[in-house]
Subunit: 174 residues, 2 copies
């Protein structure tokens, strides 16, 4: 396998266990609060990751690799989790994310993607032409982005509690 | 136990396993690169977390709870890991961090800290008077800060690879 596929899979296959280590059975005090206003809680973010596993990465890969004349992706719904997560515990969401990710990585591996495949293109509804290689790199950075966001959302609950140390903790200033 | 102690321990006891899930046996391509200049790699950050377990949190707690007339902390060495990590694998560092954290949390629990203890004070060499409660909250946010930093350091390796998606990935703009 070629860069960035193998390197990407190294991260992609770890993310569910990272989230489980950080969040499984955590008190709702940590998981239900957001950064204020329309921002997302940890619970919302895990729901968003599930929706992306269902409708974004692999679906878009299939469009790129297809013979369709129009390879424009369907726009991603950034708010789907508010409806889809209803009635589910964080623990259920984490298990669902882990199961979907496993399935999606099996699907990815079964494609035996070549260097040529990685350069095939699709059309992002806002960003225009993008390659399969860029899609897979984005999938990976998207994971890391949300791990960092989850850490930040949790850290900010302690903004007042750290007292004068706030000045040294960059995460509280983001 | 009182807030923020129990709530803090919930995070503090998870961090070693979060880092192991994210980093154990990861290729050095991910762990050895930094954000440019004098910034830290993932390997450097784990070394820094070890040094903090050894010289910061519990050591400062002991000063706060002591009868010493001068409760000024020794300044923390932010560069100790460059010497101390030499010759060690990332895997060794992760195991060391996990063992030290376990020991420190056992120490913390054995103190049976009261609400009154949490309000006791020490003197930070730059920040001035701080309470035990603020120290423990800072220990917690410090973990989350470095989990976010590790995610960012790794994500930035893919800044070019994501192509036009860079615009949507906040972590690449930090």
């Amino acid at each position: 396998m070629n860069f960035p596929l193998a390197k990407s899979i190294e991260i992609l296959e770890r993310t569910p266990d990272v989230l489980i280590a950080l969040l499984q059975n955590i008190s709702s005090d940590w998981s239900s609060k957001n950064e204020g206003g329309e921002t997302w809680s940890v619970y919302d973010i895990v729901g968003h990751l599930i929706h992306a596993e269902k409708t974004d990465w692999i679906v878009r890969m299939e469009i790129i690799l297809s013979d369709k004349p129009d390879k424009t992706f369907v726009a991603f719904d950034r708010f789907a989790q508010f409806e889809n997560s209803k009635g589910k515990s964080l623990s259920q969401l984490l298990d669902t994310f882990k199961a979907l990710r496993k399935l999606n990585l099996e699907n990815l591996r079964l494609k035996n993607l070549t260097n040529e495949n990685m350069e095939e293109k699709g059309i992002h509804p806002s960003l225009g032409e993008v390659s399969l290689s860029q899609l897979i790199a984005t999938w990976t950075v998207h994971d890391l982005n949300h791990i960092a966001q989850i850490s930040r959302v949790m850290a900010k609950q302690y903004k007042a509690e750290v007292g004068p140390w706030e000045a040294y903790l960059k995460i509280l200033q983001l």
